[in-house]
């Protein structure tokens, strides 16, 4: 067994620029596999992967499942509802029971921040974090980086603004780590009630007005307003949020340059983003989804077999 960096993907915070670039570079040729008539390579033949989803997910779960199947792994999906989890079994017991059936990797989505690391430290299998609470969602961060790099060629010096509900967003955290490591300038924009207090310490610029963010940015990553996590009055109303912070065609029309639009989905159309922006010519939202499968294939490939590929890339200069 190699270092934890070689075994698991828990977040972008622990990765070096070299490791992140290795994952992106590996994903590029893997895109072609999804364009074939027979969308499958035999690389992970015989490997068993468990998708352990303790939280609702369509896109991420399906994307991981496509990635696993296109690499020829055998997959099992476990959702919290309908499993022993609903009978009170602990996370570790669930995972150890799965390991006793000889699995190779676990992809975990969990509402508690740190759940992926907790599991990774207790089981032998590779663990991939598919979103843990408000902590990180590394594969989403990576696919955002790839989508931006596809368009810009490089991220060095590019200005990316994360808009909206940064407070509840693990996507935002993974983006901030990844973007800053690859040399981009990062900003956040949203109501102060939805920005973490210490956000300045992550080395990002803060915009209070969406107009100022649009004027500054090369790309906006518009975050979903996570209504299901808002148990207190963070915003007065959805209509007011849209009026003050919504990314609209009118606002983008005043930008000094074409601004690329990303959104991790699922979108609240008419709230954080207007439909004609989401479906507009500068939207790369569906490219993000396509890239997601390739990124996850790359991560599976690099982690499989407990080889130190990622650990080696950490030692190399970026």
């Amino acid at each position: 067994m190699t270092s934890p960096l070689g075994k698991d993907l828990l977040g972008l915070e622990q990765l070096t620029a070299g490791q992140i670039s290795l994952i992106l570079d590996t994903a590029v040729p893997l895109k072609e596999i999804s364009e074939r008539t027979i969308k499958k390579v035999p690389t992970l033949r015989g490997a068993t992967i468990v998708n352990l989803f303790f939280e609702a997910s369509t896109r991420t779960r399906i994307s991981f499942e496509f990635a696993e199947k296109r690499m020829s792994a055998d997959t099992v999906n476990v959702a919290s509802a309908g499993s022993s989890v609903s009978k009170g079994e602990t996370l570790v017991d669930t995972a150890r029971n799965l390991e006793a059936m000889r699995i190779d990797m676990v992809v975990i989505r969990h509402p508690a921040s740190g759940a992926a690391r907790f599991l990774a430290e207790r089981i032998e299998s590779n663990v991939i974090n598919a979103g843990d609470g408000t902590h990180e969602h590394p594969t989403q961060g990576l696919l955002d980086l790839l989508t931006l790099r596809d368009r810009f060629g490089t991220l060095k010096g590019k200005r990316i603004c994360l808009c909206g509900d940064v407070l509840h967003s693990r996507v935002a955290r993974s983006n901030i780590w990844g973007l800053t490591k690859l040399g981009a300038e990062v900003a956040v924009c949203g109501p102060r009630s939805l920005l973490p207090n210490a956000i300045g310490e992550m080395g990002v610029t803060v915009f209070d007005r969406i107009e100022a963010a649009i004027e500054w940015a090369d790309a906006l990553n518009v975050l979903r307003l996570q209504l299901e996590r808002m148990h207190a009055g963070y915003i007065p109303s959805l209509r007011e949020y849209n009026r003050v912070f919504g990314v609209t065609r009118e606002r983008l029309a005043r930008a000094p340059r074409d601004v690329l639009i990303l959104h991790p989905g699922p979108m609240n159309r008419g709230v954080e983003i207007d439909s004609d922006v989401a479906d507009g010519p500068h939207s790369v939202i569906l490219n993000q989804v396509t890239n997601g499968v390739a990124i996850r294939m790359a991560v599976l490939y690099l982690l499989s077999g407990n080889t130190p590929a990622l650990a080696d890339a950490a030692k190399a200069p970026a």
Partner: protein, 182 residues
């Protein structure tokens, strides 16, 4: 014992050999009808490109040219150290019913070609698949034979055969280095 190197093919010899291989490929195929050249990453791609250029010069036909990266089809992925870098696979046309010629720089164990055949099968059902290699160094571990050979080299197991191409290495040359400690 220090390693000793000898030049198997000089730049001129590489050019002559590729010219002959191109003529042989066209002859075996009875023309260029249905012919598709597929180079194996990495240096097979450049050699396939040279063969295509030579065929274009002599036959005035642009033969479709593809590239195949076989990394994801390797049979030793569970045992090799760090994950090998994955290269690009591009096939310009559907392969159904075509006469595909796989082009590689060196044929050794045959395992790369086994992987290439598996990968090609995922792209369709060619009418025929042939194998053209610049160097056949022997040492097969699988029942695989080349159809068109540039040069045969007697290379013992520990020796290295390095094919250099101008596009990647700055010069055309094939060098045999006897192995240390084998």
């Amino acid at each position: 014992m220090p390693n000793s190197s000898s030049i198997v093919l000089s730049a001129r010899a590489v050019e002559r050999t590729i010219t002959r291989m191109a003529d042989e490929i066209v002859e075996r195929n009875d023309g260029t009808e249905g012919l598709v050249l597929v180079g194996i990453q990495r240096r097979g791609v450049q050699i396939a490109g040279r063969i295509a250029a030579r065929i274009e010069a002599s036959e005035r036909v642009k033969v479709p040219l593809g590239a195949l990266d076989i990394t994801l089809y390797r049979d030793d992925l569970q045992t090799v150290g760090p994950r090998p870098v994955v290269g690009k696979t591009t096939l310009p046309v559907a392969l159904d019913g075509k006469h595909v010629v796989i082009v590689d720089d060196v044929l050794f164990t045959g395992r790369t070609i086994r992987a290439a055949l598996d990968e090609l099968a995922d792209f369709g059902r060619p009418a025929r698949v042939a194998l053209a290699v610049l160097i056949d160094r022997g040492g097969r571990e699988l029942p695989i034979q080349p159809d068109v050979v540039g040069t045969n080299v007697e290379a013992p197991r520990g020796a290295r055969v390095d094919v250099m191409v101008a596009e990647l290495d700055g010069r055309d040359e094939v060098v045999l280095t006897s192995g240390a400690g084998s």
